[in-house]
């Protein structure tokens, strides 16, 4: 595994990201946000800095703070600075030992990937980003060849700012475009226009320091037609990014989309319709594509992008050969760990040890203060599990993440790590419960077919969970 040095216990990834408390975010691209190791999470509010509106993207549910109308205002800067201060303290206080098992100082391997995401890191003034990178380098070291990715939203940066980021070490950019259709962008509450998207693409492509770049698209968006989707895909192929992420829109509760569409989807009797329509009667509410239509869009993306030479290496990710996102691989192989810093970030450092940080700024500050006080990680952040649960959890994670990827689940590793009995149970559950056309299995690998199997991956995995007793606690 190219990311990992030595065995599992040493694998360290870091991602850090900064976002900021009152700040940032905008989770405008669902996509880029999630990819932040640090920040990801639920309810988010996003703000669209350039529009002078306090708006959030209508599908966003990350833990972020509103920046306010003007990301460069005094108050916003102050908030970001304060957040970055805490972030740096957290980084400085994070011990190797707790993250990497028994590792005892000495020659720790430096970080191989760093990812800034979970909000809109591109709102962060370059000097603040620089101090975060510096803190990481000081504490853990950063490999000279490390992939340092950053999520960037069109409209929040220009060529000059990008150059400054690149000078600080950023060498991979993930552009949160979401759509090449102006109406869809508007309906989704995105803060940027199509022109800004194109300018951003041009800036990224022109910058020689950006070794690789990625582009995010969302399918199944309200108002998105198959025609518009096919055009978006074509335009994406035309601008030739190294990597494309295609997300199927998820309607989360507590987002505006959730309010709009969940009642329609689930309340067949239309109970809530009146309420909802009153609530938003002033807003255009385009129709959500049907399940069949969005399934069709998934098929279209798979076909178009594969035809254009992209490899569909994970449910939502496509890359030119050899250009997969190094960082994400860490999550999906399930055999390595990572550090996470920042509000609501999660780190994973060895089987069964996962730490999630508080999701609110104030709590997060208190958490960092507590770290300072005890040196060691505060006990409340520690998830203590029985060995059985930990094992079941690790197994679940291995399957859940592995089956999302084209590489699938490595059955040889699975047997090494969990034993023959577990392997046998899984194989027989797959044979009994999964339709043949959705799965590819041989002696070494269990993989979902593309795109049919991937499209129903949640069903398949939950069926497996229901029938493999090693996957749930007795």
């Amino acid at each position: 595994d190219f990311l990992c040095f030595g065995d599992i216990h040493e694998g360290i990834l870091i991602h850090c990201c900064g976002t900021v408390p009152f700040i940032i975010p905008c989770a405008r691209s669902g996509a880029s946000l999630y990819s932040c190791a640090f920040y990801p999470m639920e309810t988010a509010e996003c703000l669209l800095p350039r529009t002078h509106l306090h708006r959030r993207c209508h599908y966003c549910d990350f833990a972020i703070s509103l920046v306010g109308d003007d990301a460069e205002s005094h108050i916003a800067l102050q908030g970001m600075r304060r957040y970055v201060d805490f972030l740096i303290r957290e980084i400085a206080l994070t011990p190797y030992s707790s993250s990497t098992g028994d590792f005892e100082g000495g020659d720790q391997p430096p970080l191989r990937t760093v990812f800034f995401g979970g909000g809109t890191p591109s709102l962060l003034p370059p000097d603040l980003l620089g101090s975060v990178i510096e803190a990481l380098r000081e504490r853990f070291g950063i490999d000279p060849d490390a992939e340092i990715s950053m999520e960037m939203d069109p409209g929040t940066f220009d060529a000059e700012k990008l150059t400054q980021y690149v000078d600080l070490g950023v060498n991979r950019v993930s552009l949160g475009l979401q759509s090449f259709d102006a109406d869809v962008l508007k309906w989704a509450g995105r803060g940027h226009t199509l022109e800004q998207s194109r300018e951003a693409i041009a800036a990224v492509r022109a910058n020689r320091g950006v070794e690789r770049w990625s582009l995010d698209l969302i399918s199944g968006m309200p108002g998105l037609t198959k025609k518009a989707w096919s055009d978006s895909l074509k335009e994406a192929v035309d601008v030739a990014p190294h990597h494309i992420s295609v997300y199927d829109l998820q309607i989360e509760e507590e987002t505006l989309f959730g309010t709009w569409y969940n009642s329609l989807r689930f309340g067949k009797n239309g109970k809530n319709t009146t309420m909802v329509s009153n609530l938003n009667s002033h807003m255009a509410r385009p129709e959500l594509p049907s399940e069949d239509e969005s399934a069709e869009m998934f098929h279209m993306a798979s076909k178009t992008l594969r035809d254009a030479g992209y490899e569909h290496y994970e449910v939502s990710s496509y890359a030119k050969v050899g250009l997969r996102c190094a960082h994400n691989q860490v999550y999906w192989t399930g055999r390595q760990g990572w550090y996470g810093f920042g509000m609501s970030a999660t780190s994973f450092t060895a089987h069964g040890k996962q730490f999630a940080r508080p999701r609110k700024m104030r709590d997060y500050e208190a958490y960092v203060e507590a770290m300072a006080a005890f040196i060691d990680e505060p006990s409340r952040a520690r998830t203590i599990k029985s060995s059985f649960e930990a094992r079941a959890d690790a197994l679940l994670e291995r399957l859940m993440l592995g089956l999302r990827t084209r590489n699938g689940v490595d059955l040889v590793h699975l047997r090494q790590d969990f034993g023959d009995a577990v392997l046998a149970e899984i194989v027989s559950a797959v044979r009994a419960g999964w339709p043949e056309e959705l799965v590819e299995m041989d002696d070494y690998r269990l993989t979902l077919s593309d795109p049919g199997g991937m499209l129903v991956s949640t069903q398949l995995i939950s069926t497996l969970m229901a029938r493999v007793s090693s996957l749930h606690t007795p």
Binding site: P40, D292, F298, S347, L396, M400, P435, T458, S462, A466
Partner: protein, 726 residues
């Protein structure tokens, strides 16, 4: 020399009351003739029919109180116990909440201290035993409350609304399930103190056998009729039961204080429908405390005292029993002949079991121990009895020595009328379910169960119940008290299947039905159904009864605006959504009542369901050939709604034998994917997957197809209105 003084007093009384007693007898005789005539026309051989209904005691009012659809489940409350046989006694509620068989019954070393002056002793002539009969919601419980406080039996400070309905399920459903009794002392206008024993009756004809035994323990009954609503189906059924037991009936028009009260119209209805004299009817309101004295005086004057048979061999009628985890079974009885006391060796004549009495006493309504009880009195007994099945309602208690030769009439075994399969959602809970059923049975003699097994459902039990209400209550208790997740299959009645070699088998599980080639004929239980409704709804109710294969018997007008419809109808058609349908078609105004009539030959077939070409036994049902198409169509459509889409197309078929009569299919799920899953998301997505997997685990597996719990009741939800055409 108190006793001789009392004796003289009663002598005097008998003399002075001789004249009025004779008048009363004449009046009674006259009335009874009228009523008998009426009953004969309504139900041929009324006595036999009523007895049969006693044996059947099925469920109309299961539904009557609260149809399955409206059954409220109490999400938060494990402590909101539901009990059929679980005791609801005022003083033993804490103990009463469990039917826990593991509790060791401690032998009582010392007998309860008896305070001889605590309970007033009177001769039989000054005892009145009565019960209250009423339709649901006509104010029975409130009347009982008012009588208790009026006679100062319960101190004002201990008084709470609906004292008699303190059990949770009764409160939840607004009905009385469990009977109770209370002894009251009342100083009448003639200056004498009378002992009045109120024997409460369950307000449910699921338990009509218990009702009939309670009534058999009385000499009179208060018939409570809501003065604004009039006679309802249950009123009629209860009055028939009371007349069966030769009770003196005192009519009470309750809720007279309500603006809508129409006492004159209701009196007319009572005379016309029930044939009762309303000359002496008391106009009352238990809530506003109107007419209570009149009621008490009428009880004393009109209800005959129990016969003075204290010297004869002991015969006492058990009308209730319940299991107290600390004391064992508490038996509630009425002494008919002779007397009994602490330390006596007694025998239950029908079960043949013998016991020594540890404690005996009266209910006021809390238990008060006494030394002896004699003819005419009502009380309780504790004798180290381990299960209520050993002290069955209707049994006769006699002494071991000088035993009575003849048991009291009317005893009958519990015969379950409705069966269903109960399976644990999680197969690991099978053993827990077995233990829980065993514990419930200790306190519920009518509950039957035997192991059942099916490839899809795993191990479970086939359980028999008195009716739908009984079934719901047992399920509810298993879920609440024993924390079991259950899957219930659709209820089925008991069919008699005659095979070609002449043998007859009882079939309570459609899956057990012998193959058509070896069947000679199938007989199914028919009931007599009475529906009372405002005349406006007659058309739609007749349509309903016809759809459900009812055979019209009779229609009578109670008044210009109210009608009584009588039908013979298969029980199997009633134990579906019949009651809900009745209520919805009549906007809630109709009431119904039924009693078992007979087994009749019908052209019945078994409708099988195939899911993904595999037969799903628990979904099979027995229905009439003429309705099989409608049922089959409805069933597959309903299943299509209830079974979630899966990763492949699922054909669903209904068939009779090998012939498919209806089919549909559930299309494959197109999309179920989580778009993103990165570092911070992983634990969140994991939770989501776990939740989804837990949902799947609760489902049952037919081949590759996962079928949710609700689907097993699908047959009840089939819309039979569509195109059956009667």
């Amino acid at each position: 020399d108190a006793s001789s003084a009392r004796g003289r007093a009663s002598e005097r009384k008998k003399r002075t009351r001789g004249g009025s007693a004779r008048r009363r007898e004449r009046r009674q005789a006259r009335r009874k003739t009228r009523i008998r005539a009426r009953m004969a026309s309504a139900a041929p051989a009324s006595r036999g029919a009523a007895r049969a209904s006693t044996a059947a005691r099925d469920a109309p009012f299961a539904a009557a109180a609260n149809g399955p659809g409206r059954f409220r489940r109490d999400g938060n409350g494990r402590n909101r116990l539901v009990a059929v046989r679980a005791p609801r006694r005022w003083t033993t509620r804490a103990a009463a909440t469990s039917g826990d068989a593991n509790v060791v019954i401690k032998p009582k070393k010392e007998r309860a201290k008896v305070d001889p002056s605590a309970v007033l002793q009177v001769p039989p002539s000054q005892i009145r035993n009565f019960s209250i009969i009423a339709h649901i919601d006509h104010g029975k419980s409130t009347l009982a409350d008012t009588l208790l406080s009026k006679t100062k039996t319960v101190a004002a400070r201990d008084m709470e609304a609906q004292l008699l309905d303190s059990m949770d399920i009764e409160r939840e459903r607004g009905i009385t399930i469990k009977l109770n009794s209370a002894r009251m002392n009342y100083v009448a206008n003639d200056g004498e103190t009378y002992v009045l024993n109120l024997i409460d009756t369950p307000g449910h004809v699921d338990f009509s056998y218990e009702v009939s035994r309670s009534l058999a323990a009385c000499e009179g009954a208060l018939l409570v009729v809501d003065a604004s609503q009039g006679v309802e189906a249950q009123t009629v059924a209860n009055v028939y039961l009371a007349l069966e037991n030769d009770l003196e009936i005192i009519t009470v028009l309750n809720k007279i204080d309500l603006p809508g009260a129409e006492p004159e119209r209701v009196k007319r209805e009572i005379e016309d429908v029930l044939g009762l004299d309303t000359e002496d009817a008391v106009v009352a309101s238990a809530k506003a405390n109107i007419g209570m004295e009149d009621i008490l005086e009428n009880i004393v004057k009109m209800i005959p005292p129990p016969p003075d048979t204290g010297d004869e061999p002991l015969r006492a009628l058990i009308f209730d029993s319940y299991f107290d985890p600390y004391r064992g079974v508490v038996v509630i009885f009425r002494v008919v002949d002779g007397n009994l006391g602490v330390g006596d060796a007694v025998k239950f004549m029908n079960t043949g079991k013998s016991y020594t009495i540890d404690e005996i006493g009266i209910m006021r309504p809390q238990k008060v121990p006494v030394n002896r009880l004699s003819a005419g009195e009502v009380g309780y007994m504790i004798a180290n009895i381990k299960s209520v099945a050993d002290a069955r309602v209707g049994d006769t208690i006699t002494t071991t020595k000088d035993a009575s030769t003849e048991p009291l009439p009317g005893y009958s075994e519990a015969t379950p009328m409705v069966y269903c399969g109960l399976f644990p959602t999680d197969s690991d809970q099978y053993e827990d379910l077995r233990v829980a059923l065993g514990k419930l049975q200790i306190n519920d003699a009518a509950l039957r169960y035997e192991p059942e097994q099916s490839s899809a459902m795993g191990f479970g039990f086939r359980c028999g119940f008195l009716g739908l209400l009984h079934m719901e209550i047992v399920q509810e208790r298993l879920e609440r008290e024993y924390d079991l997740g259950l899957i219930t299959t659709a209820p089925s009645v008991v069919y008699k299947v005659y095979t070609s070699d002449g043998a007859c088998v009882d079939i309570a599980n459609p899956a057990d039905l012998p193959d058509a080639s070896v069947r000679d004929r199938i007989e199914e239980p028919f009931v007599k159904l009475e529906m009372f409704a405002p005349s406006d709804y007659v058309g739609s109710l007749m349509e309903l009864a016809q759809q459900r294969r009812g055979e019209f018997i009779d229609m009578t007008y109670l008044s210009e605006s109210r009608t009584c419809l009588k039908y013979d109808i298969p029980l199997g058609e009633v134990v579906t959504d019949f009651f809900d349908e009745l209520k919805s078609r009549s906007k809630g105004y109709a009431s119904m009542e039924y009693s078992f009539n007979e087994y009749r030959k019908s052209d019945l077939v078994r409708l099988d369901v195939l899911i993904n070409y595999e037969p799903a036994d628990p979904l099979a049902c027995i229905c009439h050939r003429d309705k099989s198409y409608v049922m089959g169509r409805g069933l597959v459509d309903k299943l299509k709604e209830l079974i979630p889409r899966q990763m492949f197309r699922i054909p669903i078929q209904a068939s009779i034998g090998t012939k498919v009569i209806a089919s549909t299919s559930i299309s494959a799920m197109r999309k179920d994917v989580l778009a993103k899953c990165y570092g911070g998301d992983i634990s969140r997505k994991k939770k989501l997957l776990k939740k989804q997997a837990a949902g799947k685990k609760r489902m049952k597996q037919f081949g590759k197809v996962e079928v949710p719990q609700e689907a097993f009741m699908a047959v009840l939800k089939v819309d039979q209105n569509a195109g059956s055409g009667g």
